[in-house]
Amino acid sequence: MTSRLLCQITGFLTIIIALTALPFFVGPYTITLMIGMLGYVALAIAWAMFSGPTRYVSLATVAFFGIGAYACAVFNESLPYPLLLLVAGLIGLAVALVVGLATLRLAGVYFVIFTFGLAELVRQLVTWFEVNITGTLGRYIFLPVTPEGIYWQLLALSAFAFAISWLIGRSRLGLALKVIGEDEVVAAHCGIAIARIKLALFALSAVIMTLVGAIQAPRWTYVEPSIAFNPTISFLTLIMALLGGANRLMGPIMGAVPLFLLFEWLSANFPNHYSIILGLVFITIVFVLPNGVLDFVEKGLTHRITAAAKPAEVQK
């Protein structure tokens, strides 16, 4: 068991090191592609961190992503860069705590609707503030961050998010979450502090999403609410995590990487049919792979193994 663990950790570190060295070997377009991909990998991991075990489907991804992007736009002239990220993360944390305290008692479809509304609410609040208080809507971000710099930051963030998910999965916290996901009443009777655990996870996942927004925003130079709070981001994150399997450690990555590449390929080659094909992909995922690719593959394998084993049993 320990040697297997060692293997896993070595493999993880090797991949991270290889990815860190990537910018020295590939062209700028690949970097751009990797930035987009890692952005979604981090978002999907963060999303699955909370929504996977608890089964609370959240559409608030872009609320936090947008808060990060906006925080970056607001403070990019007044704060040094690392501090900027810290402040953005703290704002995301504060919002997540307030929102989480107020809403994590909601369940099922109410929670979905609420989180969808949250993104719009934050966007309208930002707009209101900018219109009535500052009198500008668009904000400029002129930061000397190179695409490579953004890539490395997103890589670090993704690795961090992955490591955290892994740790949670192995801890008592992970077990508690699974129980909550199965049955909240049972969980409460087992003495699990449901509200506190849900809140902690929600906040952690929100901070990671906020940081993705803050790291990516300098690439746009200009930020306004319609750019920062684009609801597509929430939907794409959700579908990526679902495709991979939100309950598994590798799930979000297995969903985000192929889907991102597919989207990129579609938009490069079928720019006029993108939305139609995207819709079909969504429907297919929900119908064919409701539990994700990993689950599908695993079940397929077990099925085949049992099928192969059966004749032998009969002979006995």
Binding site: Y29, T30, R219, A268
Partner: protein, 407 residues
């Protein structure tokens, strides 16, 4: 017509593999064509604006160049266009990626600008890094002088909020001095990019022109009932009504003002007023209404452009940024004819050269197009430029505007 070779090749199956491994695309270099690429919002919230102002002109221009046998080079030879088009799906991240793709993967010779202020700014650092001239037309920004310093090959061709606001303030102030108007202004604006930009520029501009702003209200995007605002503006005692509105609001304001029998002597509405459909819907009632943009009604080049635009794309161009978009393409085309495909030289030529376009003689000042119409007015079924009044081809302003005619 426009050949989309790369796409066809990629479609044939191996595409996913080819895409991941980014195979070398050496056929781009054999110079049998000139590759022009662009990313534009064909879907999403920006598709409406891009589909009226920008995309039809790109298509019209590409078709005309193709029909003429291709793009002319300094030695008189012609190369056919190869157009690579992407949909940015109204997402800033997608614009960035599409421009990277055009520059690095498709290896295009020139990239046409995306639609909208935000997306032109998102793309600007990339245009700059790869040395592409950027002819940003559909971007209204007061910061153009700073952007030009930052991105030397960027060109800004639609002015800034202050330009439009100041021109309007001058018109109202002069009419007030002449006794046509009472110097009081009622103003509404949409709480979104355009409305906020314009209204923050208009407040100081009106004050500087000694006008009294008696009503100043901001409404959220998507508002459909303007009756309360119209009634309040009516009661405010102002006889100039200014709305920095978006197309749906512009149309609604027009309708609801008629119902409320609200007849300000000066009526200024925002985006959408210069759409041909505005005049079609409102007929004689459009007469006298002011907005941004305009054209020179006596210009034959412009009239000819409008006919060709309608014939090629099936829709008439708007009276504001459309013609400037087309002129920007003519400048690019002419600069290539003079200097070839060297992007550096072409950018320098665009910055310093003088061009004969549908706008007439066109010359940029500090990488910006400054000789454009800040205020236009519907007169005789045409949206004509009235300010600046010393601009060649300016039509005289007609005030006060006629009361609504009931059908």
């Amino acid at each position: 017509m426009i050949s989309l070779k790369r796409r066809d090749i990629l479609r044939s199956g191996v595409a996913a593999a080819a895409f991941v491994s980014s195979i070398g695309r050496s056929w781009a270099q054999d110079r049998k064509s000139v590759r022009i690429g662009y990313a534009i919002s064909k879907t999403g919230p920006n598709a409406g604006g891009a589909g009226i102002t920008t995309l039809p002109n790109y298509l019209l221009w590409a078709k005309e160049v193709q029909d003429a046998g291709g793009l002319e080079l300094p030695d008189g030879s012609r190369l056919p266009l190869e157009v690579v088009e992407y949909d940015d799906r109204s997402s800033a991240e997608e614009v960035v990626r599409a421009v990277e793709r055009l520059a690095n993967e498709d290896k295009v010779d020139f990239i046409l600008a995306p639609w909208g202020t935000g997306f032109n700014l998102a793309a600007a650092p990339l245009f700059d890094r790869y040395g592409f001239p950027q002819l940003a037309v559909s971007a209204v920004t007061d910061k153009a002088p700073q952007f030009v310093q930052r991105w030397k090959k960027s060109f800004w061709m639609l002015g800034g909020g202050h330009d439009y606001a100041k021109a309007l303030a001058t018109i109202i102030a002069e009419a007030s001095k002449a006794g046509t108007l009472n110097g009081k202004v009622a103003m509404v604006s949409v709480a979104d990019g355009f409305g906020i930009d314009l209204v923050t520029a208009a407040r100081p501009a009106f004050q500087a022109a000694a006008l009294e702003i008696v009503y100043d209200k901001t409404y959220p995007i998507g508002t459909s009932d303007f009756t309360p605002m119209i009634n309040e503006a009516k009661a405010s005692g102002a006889d100039s009504f200014v709305a920095f509105s978006y197309p749906p609001d512009t149309f609604a304001l027009t309708q609801q003002s008629q119902i409320a029998d609200f007849n300000p002597k000066l009526l200024y509405l925002g985006v959408g007023t210069s759409f041909p459909v505005y005049s079609k819907n409102n007929g004689a009632n459009a007469t006298g209404i002011l907005s941004l943009g305009g054209v020179d009604p006596t210009s034959e080049a412009n009239a000819d452009y409008r006919t060709r635009h309608e014939a090629a794309t099936g829709i008439a161009p708007d009276y504001w940024a459309s013609v400037i978009t087309y002129a920007s393409l003519q400048m690019l085309q002419e600069a290539i004819r003079r200097k070839g495909l060297d992007r550096e030289a072409v950018a320098a030529e665009i910055a310093s050269g003088s061009f004969e376009t549908v706008l007439g003689e066109t010359k940029l000042e500090d990488n910006q197009l400054r000789k454009i119409w800040w205020v236009g007015q519907w007169q005789n079924g045409k949206f004509v430029g009235v300010a600046p009044g010393d601009h060649a081809g300016a039509s005289p302003l007609i005030l006060p505007r006629q009361a609504w005619q009931k059908a």
